[in-house]
Protein backbone atom coordinates (compact mmCIF):
# COMPACT_ATOMS: atom_id res chain seq x y z
CA UNK A 1 0.00 0.00 0.00
CA UNK A 2 1.31 3.38 -1.01
CA UNK A 3 1.85 6.04 1.69
CA UNK A 4 -1.17 8.20 2.35
CA UNK A 5 -2.06 10.13 -0.77
CA UNK A 6 -3.91 12.66 1.36
CA UNK A 7 -0.96 13.48 3.63
CA UNK A 8 0.75 16.77 2.90
CA UNK A 9 4.31 16.43 1.65
CA UNK A 10 6.34 18.76 3.84
CA UNK A 11 9.52 20.46 2.63
CA UNK A 12 12.44 21.64 4.75
CA UNK A 13 12.61 25.30 5.79
CA UNK A 14 15.55 27.71 5.90
CA UNK A 15 15.20 27.82 9.69
CA UNK A 16 17.24 24.63 9.98
CA UNK A 17 20.34 26.72 9.29
CA UNK A 18 21.96 29.17 11.73
CA UNK A 19 21.62 32.48 9.89
CA UNK A 20 18.85 32.34 7.27
CA UNK A 21 17.38 35.48 5.74
CA UNK A 22 13.91 34.14 6.46
CA UNK A 23 13.35 31.05 8.61
CA UNK A 24 10.06 30.18 6.89
CA UNK A 25 11.48 30.05 3.36
CA UNK A 26 10.90 26.64 1.76
CA UNK A 27 14.01 24.89 0.50
CA UNK A 28 13.14 23.86 -3.05
CA UNK A 29 13.51 20.58 -4.89
CA UNK A 30 14.78 20.98 -8.46
CA UNK A 31 13.84 18.39 -11.06
CA UNK A 32 15.01 18.44 -14.66
CA UNK A 33 17.46 20.26 -16.87
CA UNK A 34 17.32 23.99 -16.16
CA UNK A 35 20.68 24.60 -17.83
CA UNK A 36 19.59 24.55 -21.43
CA UNK A 37 16.57 25.92 -23.19
CA UNK A 38 15.35 29.24 -24.43
CA UNK A 39 15.40 31.09 -21.15
CA UNK A 40 13.27 28.58 -19.27
CA UNK A 41 15.84 27.52 -16.77
CA UNK A 42 16.15 30.27 -14.20
CA UNK A 43 16.17 28.79 -10.73
CA UNK A 44 15.24 30.84 -7.65
CA UNK A 45 17.48 30.56 -4.57
CA UNK A 46 17.02 30.82 -0.80
CA UNK A 47 19.54 32.72 1.32
CA UNK A 48 20.41 30.31 4.12
CA UNK A 49 23.38 32.22 5.60
CA UNK A 50 23.32 36.02 5.68
CA UNK A 51 26.71 36.16 7.41
CA UNK A 52 28.60 34.08 4.87
CA UNK A 53 26.35 34.96 1.88
CA UNK A 54 25.29 31.37 1.11
CA UNK A 55 22.34 30.80 -1.24
CA UNK A 56 20.67 27.40 -1.54
CA UNK A 57 19.54 26.32 -5.02
CA UNK A 58 18.18 22.86 -4.17
CA UNK A 59 17.62 20.87 -1.00
CA UNK A 60 19.57 17.98 -2.50
CA UNK A 61 22.66 17.39 -4.64
CA UNK A 62 22.27 18.46 -8.28
CA UNK A 63 23.96 17.61 -11.57
CA UNK A 64 25.43 21.02 -12.30
CA UNK A 65 25.28 24.75 -11.61
CA UNK A 66 26.25 26.38 -14.87
CA UNK A 67 25.28 30.04 -14.54
CA UNK A 68 24.75 32.48 -11.68
CA UNK A 69 22.81 35.74 -11.93
CA UNK A 70 22.24 38.73 -9.64
CA UNK A 71 19.14 40.74 -10.58
CA UNK A 72 19.25 38.96 -13.94
CA UNK A 73 22.86 39.93 -14.71
CA UNK A 74 25.19 36.97 -15.15
CA UNK A 75 28.14 36.89 -12.73
CA UNK A 76 31.55 35.56 -13.72
CA UNK A 77 33.46 35.98 -10.44
CA UNK A 78 33.03 36.61 -6.75
CA UNK A 79 31.29 33.33 -5.98
CA UNK A 80 31.79 29.59 -5.73
CA UNK A 81 29.24 26.89 -6.46
CA UNK A 82 28.78 23.45 -4.96
CA UNK A 83 26.54 20.78 -6.47
CA UNK A 84 26.71 18.79 -3.24
CA UNK A 85 27.42 20.69 -0.05
CA UNK A 86 26.74 19.20 3.39
CA UNK A 87 26.22 22.67 4.78
CA UNK A 88 26.19 22.90 8.59
CA UNK A 89 25.87 19.10 8.63
CA UNK A 90 22.25 19.25 7.40
CA UNK A 91 22.75 16.98 4.40
CA UNK A 92 23.81 17.52 0.81
CA UNK A 93 22.41 20.60 -0.84
CA UNK A 94 23.36 22.71 -3.88
CA UNK A 95 24.71 26.13 -2.94
CA UNK A 96 26.21 29.35 -4.28
CA UNK A 97 28.54 31.18 -1.87
CA UNK A 98 29.41 34.81 -2.58
CA UNK A 99 32.54 36.49 -1.26
CA UNK A 100 30.42 39.52 -0.32
CA UNK A 101 26.74 40.43 -0.22
CA UNK A 102 25.51 40.22 -3.83
CA UNK A 103 22.94 42.90 -3.05
CA UNK A 104 20.21 41.57 -5.32
CA UNK A 105 18.03 38.61 -6.29
CA UNK A 106 20.19 35.55 -6.94
CA UNK A 107 19.13 33.08 -9.63
CA UNK A 108 20.92 30.26 -11.37
CA UNK A 109 20.85 27.68 -14.13
CA UNK A 110 21.73 24.05 -13.73
CA UNK A 111 20.70 20.43 -13.88
CA UNK A 112 18.58 19.15 -11.02
CA UNK A 113 18.16 15.86 -9.18
CA UNK A 114 20.33 12.99 -10.38
CA UNK A 115 19.70 9.28 -10.62
CA UNK A 116 22.70 7.04 -11.29
CA UNK A 117 24.62 9.97 -12.76
CA UNK A 118 21.85 11.17 -15.08
CA UNK A 119 19.51 14.10 -14.71
CA UNK A 120 15.98 12.99 -13.90
CA UNK A 121 13.75 14.62 -16.48
CA UNK A 122 11.60 12.08 -18.30
CA UNK A 123 8.05 12.94 -17.14
CA UNK A 124 7.03 9.67 -15.45
CA UNK A 125 10.46 9.32 -13.82
CA UNK A 126 10.31 12.90 -12.56
CA UNK A 127 6.93 12.38 -10.87
CA UNK A 128 8.15 9.19 -9.21
CA UNK A 129 11.45 10.81 -8.20
CA UNK A 130 9.74 13.65 -6.32
CA UNK A 131 7.35 11.34 -4.48
CA UNK A 132 10.27 9.08 -3.53
CA UNK A 133 12.49 11.98 -2.43
CA UNK A 134 9.98 13.87 -0.30
CA UNK A 135 6.78 11.83 -0.12
CA UNK A 136 8.17 8.67 1.43
CA UNK A 137 7.21 6.54 -1.58
CA UNK A 138 9.22 3.50 -2.63
CA UNK A 139 9.54 1.76 -5.99
CA UNK A 140 7.12 -0.91 -4.84
CA UNK A 141 4.42 1.70 -4.26
CA UNK A 142 4.06 2.16 -8.02
CA UNK A 143 2.53 -0.29 -10.46
CA UNK A 144 5.65 -1.22 -12.42
CA UNK A 145 3.81 -2.35 -15.55
CA UNK A 146 2.03 0.98 -15.95
CA UNK A 147 5.17 2.83 -14.92
CA UNK A 148 7.19 1.13 -17.65
CA UNK A 149 4.48 2.00 -20.16
CA UNK A 150 4.39 5.60 -18.95
CA UNK A 151 8.17 5.83 -19.19
CA UNK A 152 8.14 4.71 -22.82
CA UNK A 153 5.25 7.07 -23.58
CA UNK A 154 7.11 9.95 -21.90
CA UNK A 155 10.12 9.21 -24.09
CA UNK A 156 7.98 8.90 -27.23
CA UNK A 157 6.26 12.22 -26.50
CA UNK A 158 9.49 13.99 -25.59
CA UNK A 159 7.88 14.94 -22.27
CA UNK A 160 10.74 16.28 -20.16
CA UNK A 161 10.02 18.01 -16.88
CA UNK A 162 11.77 21.09 -15.55
CA UNK A 163 10.09 21.87 -12.23
CA UNK A 164 10.97 23.67 -9.00
CA UNK A 165 9.01 22.27 -6.06
CA UNK A 166 8.59 24.99 -3.46
CA UNK A 167 5.02 24.40 -2.30
CA UNK A 168 3.59 21.94 0.20
CA UNK A 169 0.73 19.85 -1.17
CA UNK A 170 -0.64 16.37 -0.64
CA UNK A 171 0.67 13.53 -2.80
CA UNK A 172 -2.72 13.33 -4.50
CA UNK A 173 -2.63 17.05 -5.31
CA UNK A 174 0.88 16.72 -6.69
CA UNK A 175 -0.07 13.73 -8.82
CA UNK A 176 -2.98 15.67 -10.29
CA UNK A 177 -0.89 18.82 -10.78
CA UNK A 178 2.08 17.04 -12.32
CA UNK A 179 0.15 14.76 -14.65
CA UNK A 180 -2.19 17.44 -16.01
CA UNK A 181 0.29 19.29 -18.28
CA UNK A 182 0.83 16.15 -20.41
CA UNK A 183 -2.81 14.97 -20.14
CA UNK A 184 -1.67 12.18 -17.85
CA UNK A 185 -3.61 10.74 -14.96
CA UNK A 186 -3.24 8.48 -11.98
CA UNK A 187 -5.30 6.08 -9.93
CA UNK A 188 -4.86 3.37 -7.35
CA UNK A 189 -4.85 -0.19 -8.62
CA UNK A 190 -6.68 -3.01 -6.86
CA UNK A 191 -3.39 -3.84 -5.09
CA UNK A 192 -3.14 -0.30 -3.69
CA UNK A 193 -0.24 0.68 -5.94
CA UNK A 194 -0.20 4.01 -7.73
CA UNK A 195 -0.73 3.67 -11.48
CA UNK A 196 0.54 6.50 -13.68
CA UNK A 197 -0.84 6.95 -17.18
CA UNK A 198 1.00 9.03 -19.79
CA UNK A 199 0.06 9.10 -23.46
CA UNK A 200 2.21 10.17 -26.37
CA UNK A 201 -0.84 10.01 -28.64
CA UNK A 202 -4.58 9.59 -28.46
CA UNK A 203 -5.16 6.96 -25.73
CA UNK A 204 -5.91 3.64 -27.35
CA UNK A 205 -8.88 1.55 -26.41
CA UNK A 206 -7.30 -1.26 -24.41
CA UNK A 207 -9.71 -4.18 -24.61
CA UNK A 208 -7.94 -5.75 -21.65
CA UNK A 209 -9.93 -3.20 -19.64
CA UNK A 210 -13.26 -4.30 -21.11
CA UNK A 211 -15.27 -5.17 -18.00
CA UNK A 212 -18.63 -6.01 -19.50
CA UNK A 213 -21.55 -5.17 -21.71
CA UNK A 214 -24.45 -2.97 -20.77
CA UNK A 215 -27.72 -3.43 -22.58
CA UNK A 216 -29.94 -0.59 -21.41
CA UNK A 217 -33.23 -2.46 -21.64
CA UNK A 218 -31.85 -5.29 -19.52
CA UNK A 219 -29.28 -3.80 -17.13
CA UNK A 220 -30.25 -0.20 -16.52
CA UNK A 221 -32.73 0.80 -13.85
CA UNK A 222 -35.85 1.97 -15.70
CA UNK A 223 -34.47 0.38 -18.88
CA UNK A 224 -33.97 2.61 -21.90
CA UNK A 225 -35.62 5.50 -20.12
CA UNK A 226 -33.01 5.42 -17.39
CA UNK A 227 -30.20 6.60 -19.66
CA UNK A 228 -29.26 10.27 -19.89
CA UNK A 229 -26.77 11.13 -22.64
CA UNK A 230 -25.29 14.62 -22.78
CA UNK A 231 -23.19 16.33 -25.43
CA UNK A 232 -21.73 19.53 -24.04
CA UNK A 233 -19.88 22.24 -25.92
CA UNK A 234 -17.30 22.15 -23.12
CA UNK A 235 -16.18 18.77 -24.49
CA UNK A 236 -15.53 20.09 -27.97
CA UNK A 237 -12.14 21.56 -28.89
CA UNK A 238 -10.77 22.47 -32.29
CA UNK A 239 -8.21 25.09 -31.40
CA UNK A 240 -5.72 25.07 -28.53
CA UNK A 241 -4.24 28.09 -26.83
CA UNK A 242 -1.10 26.65 -25.25
CA UNK A 243 1.38 27.92 -22.68
CA UNK A 244 4.57 26.10 -21.80
CA UNK A 245 8.05 26.82 -20.43
CA UNK A 246 7.21 28.22 -16.99
CA UNK A 247 10.00 30.34 -15.58
CA UNK A 248 9.94 29.53 -11.87
CA UNK A 249 12.21 32.39 -10.83
CA UNK A 250 10.22 35.10 -12.60
CA UNK A 251 6.75 33.47 -12.57
CA UNK A 252 5.97 33.87 -16.23
CA UNK A 253 5.40 31.71 -19.31
CA UNK A 254 8.21 31.59 -21.84
CA UNK A 255 6.35 29.78 -24.61
CA UNK A 256 2.92 30.61 -26.00
CA UNK A 257 0.81 29.71 -29.01
CA UNK A 258 -2.73 31.00 -29.28
CA UNK A 259 -4.20 28.99 -32.10
CA UNK A 260 -2.78 25.52 -32.63
CA UNK A 261 -4.82 23.47 -35.07
CA UNK A 262 -4.61 20.29 -37.10
CA UNK A 263 -6.23 19.20 -40.35
CA UNK A 264 -8.87 17.45 -38.24
CA UNK A 265 -9.62 20.58 -36.25
CA UNK A 266 -10.15 22.58 -39.44
CA UNK A 267 -12.87 20.12 -40.43
CA UNK A 268 -14.36 20.46 -36.95
CA UNK A 269 -14.34 24.24 -37.28
CA UNK A 270 -16.26 23.98 -40.52
CA UNK A 271 -18.98 22.11 -38.65
CA UNK A 272 -19.03 23.78 -35.26
CA UNK A 273 -17.14 27.05 -35.61
CA UNK A 274 -13.94 27.73 -33.72
CA UNK A 275 -13.93 26.38 -30.17
CA UNK A 276 -10.70 27.31 -28.46
CA UNK A 277 -9.49 26.00 -25.13
CA UNK A 278 -6.48 27.02 -23.08
CA UNK A 279 -4.06 24.34 -21.92
CA UNK A 280 -1.29 25.24 -19.48
CA UNK A 281 1.77 23.02 -19.52
CA UNK A 282 3.77 24.11 -16.50
CA UNK A 283 7.05 22.27 -16.28
CA UNK A 284 7.10 21.28 -19.95
CA UNK A 285 9.82 23.27 -21.62
CA UNK A 286 10.01 21.91 -25.14
CA UNK A 287 7.79 23.39 -27.85
CA UNK A 288 7.66 20.15 -29.86
CA UNK A 289 6.38 18.27 -26.81
CA UNK A 290 3.84 21.01 -26.11
CA UNK A 291 2.68 20.75 -29.70
CA UNK A 292 2.28 16.99 -29.30
CA UNK A 293 0.06 17.46 -26.23
CA UNK A 294 -2.05 20.01 -28.11
CA UNK A 295 -2.44 17.59 -31.02
CA UNK A 296 -3.72 14.90 -28.65
CA UNK A 297 -6.38 17.31 -27.37
CA UNK A 298 -7.34 18.20 -30.93
CA UNK A 299 -7.42 14.52 -31.87
CA UNK A 300 -9.67 13.51 -28.97
CA UNK A 301 -12.26 16.26 -29.08
CA UNK A 302 -12.90 17.53 -32.62
CA UNK A 303 -16.35 15.94 -32.42
CA UNK A 304 -18.81 16.17 -29.53
CA UNK A 305 -18.15 13.51 -26.90
CA UNK A 306 -21.24 12.03 -25.30
CA UNK A 307 -21.34 11.45 -21.55
CA UNK A 308 -23.89 8.92 -20.36
CA UNK A 309 -25.27 8.53 -16.85
CA UNK A 310 -27.44 5.68 -15.65
CA UNK A 311 -27.94 3.31 -12.74
CA UNK A 312 -27.11 -0.38 -13.01
CA UNK A 313 -29.10 -2.92 -11.07
CA UNK A 314 -28.30 -6.33 -9.59
CA UNK A 315 -24.80 -5.31 -8.39
CA UNK A 316 -23.54 -4.91 -11.94
CA UNK A 317 -20.79 -2.29 -12.07
CA UNK A 318 -19.75 -2.79 -8.43
CA UNK A 319 -16.16 -3.63 -9.31
CA UNK A 320 -15.74 -1.07 -12.06
CA UNK A 321 -13.27 1.75 -11.76
CA UNK A 322 -12.49 4.87 -13.83
CA UNK A 323 -10.79 3.94 -17.08
CA UNK A 324 -12.59 0.61 -17.43
CA UNK A 325 -14.41 0.03 -20.72
CA UNK A 326 -17.75 -1.52 -21.53
CA UNK A 327 -19.83 -2.12 -24.62
CA UNK A 328 -23.03 -0.11 -24.50
CA UNK A 329 -26.23 -0.90 -26.32
CA UNK A 330 -28.99 1.68 -26.20
CA UNK A 331 -31.30 1.91 -29.14
CA UNK A 332 -32.11 5.56 -28.46
CA UNK A 333 -28.55 6.76 -28.82
CA UNK A 334 -27.44 8.64 -31.95
CA UNK A 335 -25.62 6.60 -34.55
CA UNK A 336 -24.48 7.47 -38.04
CA UNK A 337 -25.91 4.21 -39.40
CA UNK A 338 -29.20 4.95 -37.65
CA UNK A 339 -29.12 1.56 -35.91
CA UNK A 340 -29.07 3.01 -32.40
CA UNK A 341 -26.02 2.60 -30.22
CA UNK A 342 -25.04 -1.06 -30.48
CA UNK A 343 -21.86 -2.20 -28.75
CA UNK A 344 -20.44 1.30 -28.66
CA UNK A 345 -17.43 1.34 -26.35
CA UNK A 346 -17.73 3.70 -23.39
CA UNK A 347 -15.08 4.54 -20.81
CA UNK A 348 -16.06 4.65 -17.14
CA UNK A 349 -15.46 8.11 -15.68
CA UNK A 350 -17.07 7.62 -12.28
CA UNK A 351 -18.93 4.95 -10.35
CA UNK A 352 -20.97 5.53 -7.23
CA UNK A 353 -22.27 2.43 -5.48
CA UNK A 354 -25.43 2.59 -3.38
CA UNK A 355 -25.07 -0.36 -1.02
CA UNK A 356 -28.57 0.02 0.41
CA UNK A 357 -30.17 -0.39 -3.01
CA UNK A 358 -27.45 -2.53 -4.60
CA UNK A 359 -27.24 -0.07 -7.48
CA UNK A 360 -24.24 1.50 -9.19
CA UNK A 361 -24.57 4.96 -10.70
CA UNK A 362 -22.23 5.11 -13.68
CA UNK A 363 -20.92 8.13 -15.57
CA UNK A 364 -19.17 7.13 -18.79
CA UNK A 365 -17.89 8.82 -21.93
CA UNK A 366 -17.89 7.75 -25.57
CA UNK A 367 -14.58 6.51 -26.93
CA UNK A 368 -15.62 6.72 -30.56
CA UNK A 369 -15.04 2.99 -31.03
CA UNK A 370 -17.32 0.01 -31.44
CA UNK A 371 -16.83 -3.61 -30.61
CA UNK A 372 -16.27 -5.23 -33.99
CA UNK A 373 -17.07 -8.70 -35.08
CA UNK A 374 -14.45 -10.83 -36.82
CA UNK A 375 -14.83 -11.74 -40.46
CA UNK A 376 -13.87 -15.32 -41.26
CA UNK A 377 -12.22 -16.29 -44.52
CA UNK A 378 -14.88 -18.64 -45.66
CA UNK A 379 -17.20 -18.82 -48.58
CA UNK A 380 -19.76 -16.71 -46.75
CA UNK A 381 -17.78 -13.51 -47.43
CA UNK A 382 -16.81 -12.66 -50.97
CA UNK A 383 -14.10 -10.23 -51.89
CA UNK A 384 -16.34 -8.40 -54.29
CA UNK A 385 -16.39 -5.01 -52.58
CA UNK A 386 -19.87 -5.69 -51.23
CA UNK A 387 -18.41 -5.86 -47.71
CA UNK A 388 -15.63 -3.87 -46.12
CA UNK A 389 -12.80 -6.10 -44.99
CA UNK A 390 -12.56 -6.28 -41.21
CA UNK A 391 -15.12 -3.55 -40.65
CA UNK A 392 -18.12 -5.63 -39.76
CA UNK A 393 -19.95 -4.08 -36.83
CA UNK A 394 -20.71 -6.44 -33.98
CA UNK A 395 -24.46 -6.22 -33.54
CA UNK A 396 -24.70 -9.08 -31.05
CA UNK A 397 -26.71 -8.26 -27.96
CA UNK A 398 -24.61 -9.92 -25.27
CA UNK A 399 -26.21 -11.93 -22.50
Amino acid sequence: MAPGLDAKILLAKAGRYSNPANEADILPVVIGDHASGSGFGLLPTVEIDTVNHVFLVADHAVGSLTNVYVDGVEQVSGFTTSVSNNYEGQGSVATITFSSDPGGAVTARGEGLQDAGSTVESWADAVVAYLRLKGGFKDGDFDQTELARSRSQSAAGGYEMAWVFAEERTAKEWLTTLMAPVLGSHDLGADGRVRLFVHAGRPKVDLARLVGHVVATRDVKEGSQGVHLTYDAANLVNSVSARWGWNFAESKWMGAEDNWQTALSEKSQNLYGEVRREHLMKGLKDEAAARKVAEIILDIQPEPVGVATFKLEHMKGFGWSPGDLFGFTWMWGPDELDQGMVNRIFRVEAVSVDLARLEAKVTASETGYYLAGRVFFDAAVKFDASKRFGAKRDLTVYA
Binding site: L229, A233, L236, W332
Partner: protein, 171 residues
Protein backbone atom coordinates in the same frame (compact mmCIF):
# COMPACT_ATOMS: atom_id res chain seq x y z
CA UNK B 1 -34.56 42.49 -25.85
CA UNK B 2 -33.40 45.46 -27.85
CA UNK B 3 -35.73 45.45 -30.84
CA UNK B 4 -38.95 47.46 -30.85
CA UNK B 5 -42.15 45.60 -30.07
CA UNK B 6 -44.90 45.74 -32.66
CA UNK B 7 -48.28 47.28 -31.92
CA UNK B 8 -49.89 43.86 -32.22
CA UNK B 9 -47.41 42.43 -29.70
CA UNK B 10 -48.08 45.22 -27.21
CA UNK B 11 -51.80 44.87 -27.69
CA UNK B 12 -51.63 41.12 -27.02
CA UNK B 13 -49.51 41.81 -23.95
CA UNK B 14 -52.07 44.25 -22.57
CA UNK B 15 -54.87 41.80 -23.21
CA UNK B 16 -53.07 39.18 -21.15
CA UNK B 17 -52.85 36.62 -23.95
CA UNK B 18 -50.73 33.51 -23.48
CA UNK B 19 -47.24 33.97 -24.90
CA UNK B 20 -45.82 31.63 -27.53
CA UNK B 21 -42.13 30.76 -27.74
CA UNK B 22 -40.18 29.50 -30.76
CA UNK B 23 -36.63 28.18 -31.02
CA UNK B 24 -35.04 28.90 -34.41
CA UNK B 25 -32.14 26.60 -35.03
CA UNK B 26 -29.67 27.25 -37.85
CA UNK B 27 -27.48 24.25 -38.64
CA UNK B 28 -25.23 23.93 -41.66
CA UNK B 29 -28.07 22.21 -43.48
CA UNK B 30 -30.70 24.83 -42.87
CA UNK B 31 -33.21 26.27 -40.45
CA UNK B 32 -35.55 24.37 -38.15
CA UNK B 33 -38.14 25.84 -35.85
CA UNK B 34 -39.37 24.14 -32.70
CA UNK B 35 -42.26 25.42 -30.65
CA UNK B 36 -44.62 24.28 -27.93
CA UNK B 37 -47.39 26.45 -29.27
CA UNK B 38 -49.28 26.81 -32.53
CA UNK B 39 -46.95 28.32 -35.09
CA UNK B 40 -47.66 31.60 -36.84
CA UNK B 41 -49.76 30.97 -39.91
CA UNK B 42 -47.38 32.89 -42.13
CA UNK B 43 -44.22 31.09 -41.03
CA UNK B 44 -43.84 29.04 -44.20
CA UNK B 45 -44.81 31.89 -46.49
CA UNK B 46 -42.30 34.18 -44.80
CA UNK B 47 -39.55 31.63 -45.41
CA UNK B 48 -40.47 30.73 -48.97
CA UNK B 49 -37.09 31.89 -50.13
CA UNK B 50 -35.91 32.12 -53.67
CA UNK B 51 -38.44 31.34 -56.32
CA UNK B 52 -37.66 29.57 -59.56
CA UNK B 53 -38.53 32.40 -61.84
CA UNK B 54 -36.60 34.43 -64.29
CA UNK B 55 -35.54 36.91 -61.60
CA UNK B 56 -32.77 34.63 -60.39
CA UNK B 57 -30.09 33.40 -62.74
CA UNK B 58 -28.42 30.05 -62.05
CA UNK B 59 -24.98 31.58 -62.44
CA UNK B 60 -23.62 30.98 -58.91
CA UNK B 61 -23.99 34.65 -58.05
CA UNK B 62 -26.91 33.84 -55.75
CA UNK B 63 -27.00 30.88 -53.39
CA UNK B 64 -30.17 28.86 -53.59
CA UNK B 65 -32.57 30.05 -50.89
CA UNK B 66 -30.01 32.46 -49.55
CA UNK B 67 -27.77 29.63 -48.34
CA UNK B 68 -30.16 28.55 -45.59
CA UNK B 69 -32.93 26.11 -46.42
CA UNK B 70 -36.04 26.28 -44.29
CA UNK B 71 -36.26 22.63 -43.33
CA UNK B 72 -39.04 22.29 -40.79
CA UNK B 73 -41.28 24.02 -38.28
CA UNK B 74 -42.76 21.68 -35.70
CA UNK B 75 -44.70 21.79 -32.46
CA UNK B 76 -42.10 19.54 -30.90
CA UNK B 77 -41.17 21.52 -27.79
CA UNK B 78 -42.62 20.03 -24.62
CA UNK B 79 -41.31 22.60 -22.24
CA UNK B 80 -39.46 25.88 -22.53
CA UNK B 81 -37.46 26.71 -19.43
CA UNK B 82 -36.83 30.08 -17.86
CA UNK B 83 -34.49 32.54 -19.52
CA UNK B 84 -31.76 32.54 -16.90
CA UNK B 85 -29.12 35.15 -16.18
CA UNK B 86 -26.91 35.82 -13.18
CA UNK B 87 -24.87 33.81 -10.73
CA UNK B 88 -26.34 30.43 -9.94
CA UNK B 89 -24.70 30.28 -6.53
CA UNK B 90 -26.45 33.38 -5.19
CA UNK B 91 -27.28 34.32 -2.47
CA UNK B 92 -24.37 32.48 -0.82
CA UNK B 93 -21.66 33.76 -3.13
CA UNK B 94 -22.17 37.50 -3.22
CA UNK B 95 -18.45 38.22 -3.63
CA UNK B 96 -18.25 35.78 -6.54
CA UNK B 97 -21.02 37.61 -8.34
CA UNK B 98 -18.79 40.66 -8.69
CA UNK B 99 -16.16 38.65 -10.54
CA UNK B 100 -18.45 36.76 -12.80
CA UNK B 101 -20.45 37.77 -15.80
CA UNK B 102 -23.17 35.48 -16.95
CA UNK B 103 -24.53 34.70 -20.38
CA UNK B 104 -28.26 34.24 -20.56
CA UNK B 105 -29.38 30.71 -21.20
CA UNK B 106 -32.53 28.75 -21.89
CA UNK B 107 -33.33 25.03 -21.92
CA UNK B 108 -35.90 23.63 -24.31
CA UNK B 109 -37.21 20.07 -23.87
CA UNK B 110 -38.24 18.45 -27.15
CA UNK B 111 -40.29 15.37 -27.90
CA UNK B 112 -38.09 12.55 -29.13
CA UNK B 113 -40.48 9.62 -29.03
CA UNK B 114 -40.00 9.15 -32.78
CA UNK B 115 -36.16 9.42 -32.41
CA UNK B 116 -36.27 12.49 -34.63
CA UNK B 117 -33.80 14.48 -32.51
CA UNK B 118 -31.54 11.44 -32.11
CA UNK B 119 -31.42 11.03 -35.88
CA UNK B 120 -30.94 14.74 -36.38
CA UNK B 121 -28.02 14.81 -33.94
CA UNK B 122 -26.31 11.95 -35.78
CA UNK B 123 -26.52 13.73 -39.11
CA UNK B 124 -26.41 17.46 -38.43
CA UNK B 125 -24.06 19.40 -36.16
CA UNK B 126 -26.59 20.55 -33.58
CA UNK B 127 -23.96 21.41 -30.99
CA UNK B 128 -22.74 25.01 -31.44
CA UNK B 129 -25.50 25.64 -33.99
CA UNK B 130 -26.67 29.26 -34.06
CA UNK B 131 -30.14 29.88 -32.75
CA UNK B 132 -32.70 32.49 -31.88
CA UNK B 133 -35.46 32.44 -29.30
CA UNK B 134 -38.53 34.35 -30.43
CA UNK B 135 -41.49 35.29 -28.27
CA UNK B 136 -44.93 36.33 -29.49
CA UNK B 137 -48.53 35.44 -28.97
CA UNK B 138 -50.72 32.81 -30.56
CA UNK B 139 -52.35 34.28 -33.62
CA UNK B 140 -49.72 36.93 -34.27
CA UNK B 141 -47.86 37.09 -37.56
CA UNK B 142 -44.23 36.01 -37.58
CA UNK B 143 -43.10 39.60 -38.06
CA UNK B 144 -44.76 40.52 -34.76
CA UNK B 145 -42.62 38.07 -32.78
CA UNK B 146 -39.71 39.54 -30.83
CA UNK B 147 -36.25 37.94 -30.64
CA UNK B 148 -35.30 37.66 -26.95
CA UNK B 149 -32.06 35.71 -27.28
CA UNK B 150 -29.49 35.10 -30.00
CA UNK B 151 -26.99 32.44 -29.18
CA UNK B 152 -25.89 28.92 -29.89
CA UNK B 153 -26.66 25.41 -28.69
CA UNK B 154 -24.13 24.54 -25.99
CA UNK B 155 -25.65 21.31 -24.72
CA UNK B 156 -27.66 18.51 -26.28
CA UNK B 157 -29.24 15.93 -23.98
CA UNK B 158 -30.96 12.76 -25.03
CA UNK B 159 -32.95 11.67 -22.03
CA UNK B 160 -34.45 8.25 -21.71
CA UNK B 161 -36.55 7.13 -24.59
CA UNK B 162 -38.85 9.99 -25.25
CA UNK B 163 -37.22 13.36 -24.67
CA UNK B 164 -34.29 15.45 -25.79
CA UNK B 165 -33.24 18.85 -24.52
CA UNK B 166 -31.26 21.70 -26.02
CA UNK B 167 -29.59 24.30 -23.83
CA UNK B 168 -28.94 27.52 -25.72
CA UNK B 169 -26.68 30.27 -24.47
CA UNK B 170 -26.29 33.84 -25.51
CA UNK B 171 -23.20 34.50 -27.61
Amino acid sequence: MSERLSAAFRSSLREGKTPAVMLWLNTLKGTRVFSADPLPADIFAAQAGTKFNAAVMFDASVMFNGGSLFLAAERRALKVGALKAGTASMPENLVGSFRRSSRRSLRVVLANDDRAITKLFAKEPLLMAGCQVKVGFIGLALTDYATVLEGRVERVEIRGSFEAALTVKEV
